[in-house]
Each structure stands twice: as structure tokens, then as C-alpha cells.
């Protein structure tokens, strides 16, 4: 059963992409740690950190593609799931600081001492344990997606209305997390991390490990997403996107199909957030900003929605562009992003990967047509000979 699922998932392009991801998971840290700094092949730590960040964004875009590209749910609030995963990881990292904080309180993180809190809030319990925190990375975004989706999909909220309420959801969470009495560090968020699993988060080896984990998790989620998309369930998903009522009248429970996909996608976004936080060293309520979620949509659209690989490429390209632009011409970045989105919508509606695939398909079709012209269609279309 599971093997069938995995075998179906391993279609040509996916195998290559997973191969590349696993390759860089080994190669980049090796070039960073083992190659001397003066060598041309050396990858500086800041570049590796940047690439690790892009991989987390790529995973977030992949998660969005599953719901948007395949199921037609345009979520403008995926940044919320990413941020929640990030906060779960951030809470673990805060608990690891222990008495090394500015105030030296062995139990309470600095911001709580600063707010004169006497004891740890109940929802901070357990986060000192890594396995529990990792469970929460999946569980919290998954639960939010489940509750949200349960109501939205059952009452058949669709299209632009659904997009708007997802946007409202992330905005509401942002406002909530900005409040000091929520217990998540308010405006400043969670930062000043020291250790992860007993080793310093700043150490070269830890950074390399985090980079590798990002690449491996992206590869794993790509495998899962591909398995979902290639299965009969995946075909039903595309059916929901293209002709929802037909799916319903065929006897499928559309709300369950959407709910499952939405929850899986939210969990992937949570993983992305959890890997992101130790690499950038901070999580704050700004991650919930509606604009962040919209940017994810842009990456996905640029790469090509409904292609799985496209969003990964889109996220990396756009963010690399962003790093360059914000360094070289800081005031132009937003214009460039807006211009890019308009250009893609107008000239590449299928995105980069979608356009390449489409072009390839058209070329194949032309070839077959040319063969037919020459009267050699007998072996291509056997029934035409009758």
C-alpha cells in the first residue's frame, strides 16, 4: 500500500528534484565545513544560511501549491501556519536558554521575567522536550487548519471569500501575537537562542546540520506531495479545482477532501517555519503579516502552480532576487516584486515550469502532426488505418 504510494510518487522530474535536493544537503555543508576558506569552492557560512532560508521558503511554497495549484483553494494565510511552526520551535529554543538569560531565571524566559510573571504559563509546559516541540510544530498548524477548514469547507465558502477569510485569520493572529499578555514575547518575539539539542545554534556544524535538514525535509515533503498528487486522490483534487459540483455529484465528500489537503499543507508550512527559525535566529509577530502570505502566492505563481517543482524554483529565484535587490537598490524591491507578479500574470500565466512543460507538450504534438503529414501515422494512431 505504502510502497505503491511511494512508487507512484517517484515520477521522472520528482526523482531528479529529490536527487538534487539530497545532493546539496551533503555538498553545501561539505563545501562550507571541509573546504578551506580561501578556496574558490568554499561556501561562506552566510551564503549557506541564506540558502537554508530559501529552502524553508521553498517548502512553504510547495505547501501552498498543494492547496492552491491542485485543489484550487487560494490561501492568503499560509504564512500563519509557517509562523506557528516557527513559534513552536522558538519556544523550544527559549526553554533551552535556561539560566543563561539576562535575568538568569532557570525556568522563565527573559521576557516573562521582565513582565513580572511568577510562573510559566501552561502552554509553555513540555516545550523543553524536543520531541514534544516537534510534535507541536505539526500539531498546532494542523489543528488551526482543521478547525478553520472544518467550518469554511462545510459551509462551502469558496473562491475570493475563502481567500479573504484566510487573510483575516493571519491578520488576527498577528494582532494577537503582538500583545504582551499572549505570552509569546509580544512585539519582540522570541530570540537570543543558545542551544538546539545540546549544541550551540551558532556553531558551524549546527548551521550545516540545519541546512541539511531543510534540504532533506523539502525532499521528503516533495515526495509526499507527489505521492498525493499522483494518486487517485490527487486526480480527485484536480477535479475539485476544475469542476467541484461534478465531484460532489459523483459521491465524493468535497469538504473532507479539502480538509485533508489543507491540514497536510498547513503541517508542511509548519515544518518550514520550524526549520526557518533557528537559521534566522528570531521569530516575531511580523511573520504573520498578511503581506508575507501574499508573497508566497507570488513565488508559487512565478514558478508555476500545480507543478510542485515550480513553486520550489519560484521561491528560490524570487528570494534570491530579493536578496540582491534589497542590497543593491533597496528602494526598488517592492516595485520589482509588483512588476514581476504583473509580468508573470500577463506573459507567463502558467509560471516558469508550467510554460516549459506546456512548450514541451506543444513540441511533441507538432512532431506527431508532422509525422502524420508524411503519412506515417499508422503506428501512432492504429485505428486510423481501419
Amino acid at each position: 500500500m505504502i510502497t505503491g504510494f511511494v512508487l507512484r510518487a517517484l515520477e521522472g522530474k520528482i526523482v531528479i528534484a529529490i536527487g538534487i535536493l539530497l545532493g546539496i544537503a551533503v555538498l553545501v555543508p561539505a563545501l562550507n565545513l571541509l573546504v578551506p576558506a580561501d578556496s574558490a569552492f568554499h561556501i561562506p557560512t552566510y551564503v549557506m544560511a541564506l540558502m537554508g532560508k530559501y529552502l524553508c521558503y521553498a517548502l512553504l511554497a510547495l505547501a501552498l501549491d498543494l492547496v492552491w495549484g491542485y485543489c484550487g483553494i487560494l490561501s492568503l494565510g499560509h504564512g500563519a501556519f509557517f509562523a506557528l511552526g516557527g513559534y513552536a520551535m522558538g519556544m523550544y529554543l527559549m526553554r533551552q536558554i535556561g539560566s543563561r538569560g539576562t535575568y538568569g531565571n532557570p525556568l522563565l524566559p527573559d521576557f516573562m521575567v521582565f513582565l513580572n510573571w511568577q510562573e510559566l504559563p501552561w502552554f509553555w509546559y513540555g516545550f523543553d522536550m524536543f520531541p514534544f516541540a516537534m510534535l507541536m510544530v505539526l500539531f498546532v498548524p494542523g489543528l488551526l487548519a482543521f478547525v478553520f477548514g472544518w467550518f469554511a469547507f462545510r459551509s462551502r465558502v469558496n473562491g475570493v471569500y475563502l481567500s479573504i477569510i484566510t487573510q483575516a485569520m493571519t491578520y488576527a493572529l498577528m494582532l494577537a501575537f503582538f500583545r504582551n499578555d499572549m505570552g509569546f514575547g509580544g512585539n519582540n518575539g522570541l530570540t537570543d537562542y543558545k542551544d538546539i539539542l545540546g549544541v550551540s545554534v551558532q556553531a558551524g556544524g549546527t548551521r550545516a546540520m540545519l541546512f541539511s535538514m531543510s534540504a532533506v525535509m523539502l525532499a521528503l515533503c516533495l515526495l509526499i506531495a507527489s505521492g498525493i498528487v499522483q494518486s487517485k486522490f490527487g486526480k480527485v483534487l484536480v477535479g475539485v479545482r476544475d469542476a467541484e459540483s461534478r465531484v460532489r455529484f459523483l459521491g465524493f465528500r468535497v469538504e473532507n477532501i479539502k480538509l485533508f489537503t489543507f491540514v497536510v499543507s498547513a503541517m508542511m508550512a509548519g515544518i518550514a517555519g520550524a526549520l526557518f527559525v533557528p537559521q534566522v535566529g528570531i521569530i516575531n509577530p511580523g511573520e504573520f503579516a498578511p503581506a508575507n502570505s501574499i508573497e508566497v502566492v507570488v513565488w508559487t505563481a512565478v514558478g508555476g502552480r500545480g507543478t510542485l517543482i515550480g513553486p520550489i524554483i519560484g521561491a528560490i529565484l524570487v528570494n534570491a532576487g530579493k536578496s540582491y535587490f534589497t542590497g543593491a537598490f533597496p528602494e526598488f524591491w517592492l516595485y520589482a516584486l509588483g512588476g514581476l507578479f504583473i509580468a508573470v500574470t500577463l506573459f507567463l500565466p502558467k509560471g516558469i515550469v508550467g510554460t516549459i512543460q506546456h512548450g514541451w507538450g506543444a513540441r511533441e504534438a507538432t512532431k506527431i502532426a508532422a509525422e502524420k503529414e508524411k503519412g506515417r501515422d499508422a503506428d501512432i494512431l492504429p485505428q486510423a488505418a481501419e
Binding site: F5, K235, V238, G239, A243, F249, N256
Partner: protein, 253 residues
Amino acid sequence: MTLISETRSKSLLYLDNVSVSFDGFKALNSLSFVVEPGELRAIIGPNGAGKTTMMDIITGKTRPDTGTVLFEDSVDLTKRDEADIAQLGIGRKFQKPTVFESHTVWDNLELALNRPRGVFSTLFYKLSDDDRARIGEILETIRMSHRKDELAANLSHGQKQWLEIGMLLAQEPKLLLVDEPVAGMTDAETAETAILLREIAKTRSVVVVEHDMGFIRDLGVKVTCLAEGSVLAEGSIDFVSNDPKVIENYLGR
């Protein structure tokens, strides 16, 4: 009273005194209508007569304000939703052909096949030899074996209509509701469709809504004429088309 309960217990689909109104407009006005097992029935009527609304009510898309809707004399359809009703064995073809355009003809049929439809059963579904044979059979019936790998988007209008009928067959329904199957078809396609529907009706009940009187004559079945949300006349096509009320309300216009 005995007569009524007898009709009811023998019926596949039983509508009694069904009314529904939208913003004060009575789309159905105490409509009563019975379909027996294995029956092929045609429904005619002017625009706004309530034909599509009736289908909406049977398939659970719309809830009636009052009235009884029973399937196989036991299941109250007014309490079920679309997915439930489809699983009970009622298939529906829409007025506008609705197929999955970005899937191949084969995949369209595979999705429609009457198999477990839960999330996990579809996630781990494997095409069995039986299912393969069944899809092949349906492709034969709808005469599309040679186009099985074609994307549904590339089919002609008439072929999409047939593919949708094929999908309904794959669903193995006991009752098939077909809304204007020959709209936009050529004469040859229309004649073929009549043959196809008669063949399908051998093993299940079919209700066809159609405007094309020639097509209904081709089908040669019992006809129900609806107007203003209730039944105007019922009987053979000649009987119905000679009914003065039908002429006044529908044919004469």
C-alpha cells in the same frame, strides 16, 4: 389510499406534493411524480417550468419547502446531501457538459467508478484488473475507446456529453437524471444519443429532460409535461402533444 401506498412501495423515486419557492417565486408547486424501476421517462416543459429545480431537489442540491421525496420507498432524500444521494445510486448529468477537462477520458471514468470514495481509500487506490475491464466496457458503450488517452478538454461538445454519460454509467446508479443531453448536438449525434440512452435504460431507470421533440419521439417513451412547477399532462408523446393545455402552455408558444 391502498392505491397510493401501492404506487409508493413499487416506485424507485416518489415525489409527492413538493413545493419550493425562491424569493416568492414558486419554482415547484405541489409537484407529484413517480418513476418506476427500469423506466425511461422524458420530461418536457417551457423554460421556468421547474425541470431543473426538480432535479436539484432529487439530488439534494436544493431543499424543498414542503413535500415528500422518497427513493426506493425508504430513503428520505430531503435529509441527505449530494454526496450521500450519489452514493445511494442517483446519477446526474448537468445541462452544460461537466467533465474534468484537465484529465484524460480514462481518468474521468476512473474517478467516476463506483469504488470507496474516502480520503485514504483514494490515496492508496490501485487500479485493479476488474476496474480496468469495467472502464474498457464503458469506453465501448460510449464509443470512445480510441480517444481514451485524450484530454477531456480536447473533446467536441457532443463527445463531452457522452463522456459525462459514461461517467454516470461508471457510477452504477439505479436512477439516472439527464438534463438536456442533446443540446448543441448534430442530428447524427442526437440519434446516436437516443440509442445510447435506450440501451442504458435496459438496466436502470432514466429520467431525461429535453426540449427537442424529435429526440423524444425517437426515444418513444412516457412523457411528463411540466408547467409552472406542476404536472400538466402525462402519457405517450402523441397523447401529450395533443393535449390542449400542453399546446397552449408549451408547444403553441
